[in-house]
Homo-oligomer: 413 residues x 2
Amino acid sequence: MNAVIISVGDELISGQTVDTNSAYLARRLAGMGIVTSAHQTVGDDRPAIAAAIKSAAEAVDLVVVTGGLGPTADDLTRQAVADAMGTALATNAQCLAEIEEFFHRRGRTMVPANRIQAMIPLGAEPLANKVGTAPGIAARVAGKPVFVLPGVPAEMEWMFDATVAPRLDRHAGVVLYHTVHTFGQGESDIASAIVDLMDRGRNPIVGTTVSGGMVTLRIISRSAGPQEARRAIRDTVDQLRRRLGAMVVGEGEETMASAVGLLLRQRKQTLAVTESCTGGMIGEMITATAGSSDYFLGGVIAYANQAKTQLLSVPHSVLETHGAVSEPTAIAAAEGCRKLLASDWAIGITGIAGPSGGSESKPVGLVHIALAGPQGTKAYRHVLPGNRATVRLRASLSAMNHLRLALLGEPAH
Amino acid sequence: MNAVIISVGDELISGQTVDTNSAYLARRLAGMGIVTSAHQTVGDDRPAIAAAIKSAAEAVDLVVVTGGLGPTADDLTRQAVADAMGTALATNAQCLAEIEEFFHRRGRTMVPANRIQAMIPLGAEPLANKVGTAPGIAARVAGKPVFVLPGVPAEMEWMFDATVAPRLDRHAGVVLYHTVHTFGQGESDIASAIVDLMDRGRNPIVGTTVSGGMVTLRIISRSAGPQEARRAIRDTVDQLRRRLGAMVVGEGEETMASAVGLLLRQRKQTLAVTESCTGGMIGEMITATAGSSDYFLGGVIAYANQAKTQLLSVPHSVLETHGAVSEPTAIAAAEGCRKLLASDWAIGITGIAGPSGGSESKPVGLVHIALAGPQGTKAYRHVLPGNRATVRLRASLSAMNHLRLALLGEPAH
């Protein structure tokens, strides 16, 4: 079974907003054995939306549309769906009552503009929306199911999971996707270690992607049934882990931060961080994982020198002799932080994220990382390529990776 | 002049990776008066890529393709371009020399797999890549220009700016996009205040989008020349600012964090933060702006209670009586942080990001924000909807917005 995902919105077509809905939907569909063959994005243009829906419905088995169901004049998807169906819009009394109720519960009055959200193409069904005002639409075009969902990600995700997924059959021919995330080597180096697994004729097949500072390996497994597909994926993951060793950070939804968290939890150890150039990014990433309070104590954002000396007891002499971006400063900050918070581990990070502030001896991208732990403190120097955002991301990932590798060398309890 | 942007990759089509390249390209094209009429995403499938390029070239004036130029077996775009042109690939000697040189400069040896990256369709031109190994391709299909760029965002952006943009003519009929970001009211409330500016027949026309926790207003201005288009946008921005007042956070590339930074800089004041449920997110957002060291001193990530008492001098009695997520704790933390770092302002934030940890009196989404400033301390209570990531984002934005509104009430120097 093949699907096309259509995203609607001038904000998407013009690049003001990045479309994250299509990726969510493709992942969810894949989990049900439905292969997405294309994503399309069109603007707030009624004929263009209608034409995209029609041609997709003619080409594949399932069409999912997101966006353009809001209450304002640029929300034209419901009209376009009616056009593609060759029908007209009519107010759905139950939808109207639900929208009024939604406002009522929040103690607000419904503005007249929201009435349009209760309109549904004749012959289509509304899809309930418990997290926003716009109901979705379940329609048929060219005999194929077309599901229309709001563009706000939280509403779209709720509606897909609650109302669309239960209507989609599980399919006999199953395609499962899985990912393995690596850190530490470039894409072509990793590919040369697994070239046989990447052969286009192989099943499961492995592909590589550079994303978010890491190299991710995708595994696509096609089988008659889910058990076989899962087993084949597991075999391939085992091979990847055997060949790539400690470069493998995690799988699927796992991140560098969640992998570090898991290792800390297993070892019943705690972490504190002190961040300069990353300004809180490592703390933010670590605490994105629910339950991180079990192993993360907190830390110090030591952006100004004063914060380094006063909070972390970095000696003035170290800052004066070596500068804020130096190995001795990173070490003193990490050790000061570990002491201050009485943690097992502390990461200290200081660097020049750019675009300005670099010099010949200390270029933009220079990052010093110190890792203070039960066995002492180690320091690492990196010169990272890229712009300010990339340098900060890579610095954060590198710091967590040094901790990850150190934890892998420690016994788990 | 119309363009279609095509993104290639199994990682995109399957939802493993979110496509950010299309948004970048659409924004850059718009700045040159080129309207993107559709984005398309296809997998690593040679016939599908070739078909997408051909049909786009037949429909519009310009095609930009990203992805699938890597060195591995799943990189099939260069073959697909040759197919769409009806030609074959041949090794380009200069490209090969440049790729070898790229590895040489980094002290690495080129693996044989990288040779494929020097292959270009006969009759096409290579586009230089100074930041990676894969050259791009400038081709013609159906008489229309087709530019093919790598999928790694940093390489794609460099190549578009350095090699593609100079080849694109500026056009007589100009379309300019601009955005105005607001915070504090829902989409339909804002829309009802500007309904006349959203009329589909108006030029410039205003549209609304909910994205990243804020409501963004898009302005699309079509004019004969760039001066008129810019003037029309300026007039519309003035109207929006007049009607929406302090809800307007910024324009274009401005963010909540950069807006706060600008106000602090104008007032020669400094900021420190102490974060619990957001774990460093506010610090990370503030320091994403280059030059933020002029006004941002740092702060404390007070995730564990011990960090709150020891670093910020939050009294044990406050934590015991009111709990870590309470107004008194937020106030004590903010005041402790302001003192510790001797800043003009300090934000204190504590809350329950979920998914667990909530109770009837303190539900998931409850966030207490305290703002300690020159005139004393104010506290704010929010119950924010959404999942862990959304609650943390909204909490960070709300905290910075309280500071922004307070700063707007202070005189600038």
